[in-house]
């Protein structure tokens, strides 16, 4: 992408969005970390498993942060159980999206101020038109997180009434959090 060729720059995101074959990777082999929970984490994981029951698709964790993967359609129900159940997750600490190119993963970090424990909920969304139920009725903190995720990743949140751009501005094209969005070369503004 050069300065003299603005058309190529405009077309670049479309090209990058198309599934391209990854070139063979050079460098040292990739090591995958072992996920081991400590004693405290095991306790939380057991509590979480009993709270969610059959909703859990997959679970593991690291240190004292256990995570469970649930179906995207069941996420609202799972979150509600976590909040109202004995585990008492009363704070939505963090919410983020990770772009794995073939899918978008939503990650919710919940925290309990009464029990002082953290759990992580995950849900996989399709890369094409991702959508997941809004958690604004459970935690007010979700409003801005969801708007931000909508800005940067294009995830829709049915149930959140205000989806206007938060960090970006009206008229911004594309979702810059996605891996397919190109980073700048020189541009006149």
């Amino acid at each position: 992408m050069t300065e003299q060729d603005p058309k190529a720059a405009a077309e670049a995101p479309k090209e990058a969005a198309a599934p391209a074959e990854k070139p063979a990777r050079h460098g040292p082999p990739i090591v995958i970390a072992e996920e081991v929970l400590n004693e405290r984490g095991e306790q939380t994981a057991a509590q979480l498993a009993s709270t969610l029951g059959t909703l859990v698709l997959d679970s593991a964790g690291r240190e004292d942060n256990p995570w469970v993967r649930v179906d995207a359609k069941e996420l609202h129900a799972a979150a509600k159980k976590c909040r109202d159940g004995e585990i008492g997750m009363d704070m939505l600490n963090l919410m983020l999206a990770v772009d794995w190119v073939d899918r978008i993963q939503m990650i919710y970090v919940l925290y309990s101020t009464t029990n002082n424990r953290k759990v992580i909920l995950k849900a996989d969304l399709p890369a094409e038109s991702p959508a997941i139920d809004s958690l604004t009725d459970l935690w007010e903190a979700a409003t801005w997180y969801e708007r931000e995720t909508h800005d940067l990743f294009g995830v829709d949140f049915p149930g959140n009434s205000d989806m206007s751009p938060l960090l970006l501005y009206e008229g911004f094209e594309g979702h810059p959090g996605l891996k397919s969005y190109p980073l700048n070369d020189y541009e006149e503004w």
């Binding site: 990739i30 963090l94 007010e140 903190a141 810059p176």
Partner: protein
Amino acid sequence: MTTESQFETVDMMLNMGPQHPATHGVFRMVLKVDGEKVIDVIPHIGYLHRGTERLAEVETYGQVITLFDRVDYIANLNNELAFVRAGEQIMEVEAPERAQYIRVILAELNRVASHLLFIGTYAIDLGAMTPVMYGFRERERIQNLFEHVTGARMMHNYMRIGGVKADVPDDFVPWVRQLIGEVRKGVEECDKLLSTNEVFLGRTRGVGVIDGPTAISCGLTGPSLRGSGVAYDVRKDDPYEIYPYLNYKVPVGENGDCWDRYYLRMLECYESLSMIEQCLDQFPEGPIMAAGRRIARPPAGEVFSHSENPRGDLGVYLVSDGTDKPYRVKIRPPSFCNLVGLATMTRGSYIADAVAILGSLDIVLGEVDR
């Protein structure tokens, strides 16, 4: 005859910012007012959205530390510490004891510096010009020490995954001891000047009240949450570094109003200074960098680590794909979450109090927008 009910009245929208001296940066809020009363607040952010999280994906772990310096530009070292701890967790290394002590001393000093800036600017928001001069005088002393140790006044790039860049100079301990004495005097001066001032109390007592459950639901953390009576401090609840070996109290408020949030920060300054003194008493000798590879290339996986920033719970969610660059870095910005509670606090108060409430949250726009 026309009666009052026959008039069509509309609520007035009042714009504040993004260039407003009392918004602590480029924050914009639209107040919906009925006379002097604020009915609703619509905050607009993103005027400093620099794409830090996206940029971090194309930079190596060492380079990301420089970006974290600039996320919360008032408490730079606390932010470095947050990222470095996440990096250490994913690399499965632990910093040597001396490095941890150095980090904690510097982070607590930075917390004091940040709170001093808050006290000064908050007084300005309420119309008092003097405390900011006092606050910055003490802050300047702290910055001089930082310059001596790290080489920079603000953007230090001092901490590393597995330790710190360089050992502290020889005169570090006596310098810090002298500094603590001076700063403590300065904080006391501000305290005397401001905390029980009749006008100051009138502007802050009972203003911007938020109760504990609402604050938790909004995701408030740090002094903003503790002001509402919820004792949540990452240093106590999820201890990291050498905090378990230190003896300190976490002040907690009662009413959840602006004065509580302000005074907690004042008390935290004293606590932080006493923590630094304890660190200096225990200050060990030894290496400052963990043995191992100099290039960070962690195994593929993901970690969530958080630490206590002057503004609250600063979390870092780090996803690695096994290369030397992070796959995804997500910052949990405490200011961003604290701002969610702004509308709840401000509804029903006067226009003049909107500034007092916003100031009491102590936001940093670099962190809100990232």
